[in-house]
């Protein structure tokens, strides 16, 4: 499987901005498929960002977050070259993670 996370972390002053796009269907469970049956809900429940061994942010999501979700957040205390790790898990237990260097 191709990497599901595209991310970028950029430092401006003392603040790091993390932006990420995740490839995910984010099915609501309300949509009907071609066969007329409902497509089961399948969505990311949590996205976690870690820096230097600490969790910076955890996003908890319901199925109302858009398909191929986007998120952005900011934090302080990191420097250029540091690694930022992003991981997600969905309601079916699938998961993925990715790392980026702060630029």
């Amino acid at each position: 499987m191709a990497k599901s996370i595209k991310m970028r972390a950029s430092l401006r002053g003392d603040e790091t901005t993390v932006k990420a796009l995740i490839t995910h269907a984010m099915e609501t469970g309300l949509r009907k498929g071609k066969d007329g049956n409902k497509i089961p809900a399948h969505h990311i429940t949590e996205v976690t960002c870690e820096h230097a061994g600490k969790t910076v942010m955890v996003a908890q999501w319901g199925p109302a977050v858009s398909k191929n979700p986007y998120l952005a957040f900011k934090f302080k205390g990191a420097k250029a070259g540091d690694a930022v790790k992003l991981s997600w898990v969905d309601n079916k237990g699938e998961s993925d993670s990715s790392e980026a260097k702060i630029k």
Partner: protein, 281 residues
């Protein structure tokens, strides 16, 4: 250049939280500049939503993937595309996209960007036209769209300037103009049915007007993320979509007929800044 643009994005998005942005030429800034000169234009100003998505357009990631693909040695000949001549010399990308379609002596043909990219993938890298790297033309996940988005982005902000030096370039552009106005099919449509008047809407969407270059540059600025389709789309994808709604038969990609239409529509945006990649509904 890509890095510079991506770094500038937070600045563009929230002027409140950041001081002066560094000199930048992100597609978002090219468009906002165009909007500032056309404040009352209905077509250009119709989507606040897309404007808000644009600084973080998924196409920017597509371009980044395209850059890696462009530089990678690939195909049976294990060559990168850095030797490809898009009209301004091998490997010269800056400004190449806005000068397409153009005449190429090596093929003795006027080629669209897409045809030229296929030509290079076949001749330089040794791919067969049936290989998936070449054959799959649509979707952000396709090599073609990744490469196209990256290369097009190297012309962001530059004025559209399709070459008209060779007689074949002019001939195709002029034939494309006739095709634009030619009415046929069960609905009697031509392209001008929708694009022949300013400020008209098809359902809720304001349509671009062919004789307003400031509108037309946004109309022809592909690749662009189609927000409603969750994908980066190409020039040909747009042309095909129009012909589909016009009830025309399928148009073959890379055909001279397609080149003629694209030559005319690019020429109609001449002089206006290309927004590459753009964000569309």
């Amino acid at each position: 250049m890509l890095k510079k643009i991506l770094l500038a994005i937070p600045a563009a998005m929230f002027a409140v939280s950041v001081q002066a942005a560094e000199p930048s030429d992100s597609p978002y800034e090219v468009l906002t500049e165009l909007l500032s000169k056309n404040k009352d234009d209905l077509y250009l100003n119709q989507s606040q939503q897309n404007l808000m998505i644009m600084p973080d357009d998924p196409a920017l990631f597509t371009a980044e993937e395209g850059e890696a693909l462009f530089k990678e040695k690939r195909g049976p000949k294990n060559a990168s595309l850095e030797g490809c001549d898009f009209g301004k010399g091998p490997g010269v990308l800056k400004g190449a996209y806005v000068e397409m379609p153009r005449y190429f002596a090596d093929t003795d043909k006027v080629m669209t960007f897409e045809s030229r990219l296929v030509h290079c993938m076949v001749t330089l890298q040794g791919f067969d036209k049936k290989d998936k790297q070449v054959k799959k033309r649509h979707g952000s996940g396709s090599d073609m769209m990744k490469l196209t988005t990256y290369i097009a982005m190297q012309s962001n902000g530059m004025p559209w300037n399709p070459r008209m030096d060779h007689p074949k370039e002019k001939a195709l552009r002029d034939a494309g103009e006739v095709l634009f106005y030619r009415r046929s099919g069960p609905m009697d449509f031509n392209c001008a049915t929708c694009h022949g008047q300013e400020g008209k809407r098809i359902r809720a969407s304001v349509l671009p007007y062919i004789n307003n270059p400031a509108e037309w540059t946004k109309a022809v600025s592909w690749p662009a993320t189609r927000v409603g389709q969750n994908n980066v789309r190409s020039t040909f994808h747009r042309v095909r979509g129009c012909l589909y709604q016009m009830r025309y038969p399928n148009l073959k990609q890379g055909s001279e007929t397609a080149t003629a239409l694209v030559s005319f529509w690019t020429d109609a945006a001449r002089g206006q800044p290309a927004i590459l990649p753009d964000t569309k509904r």
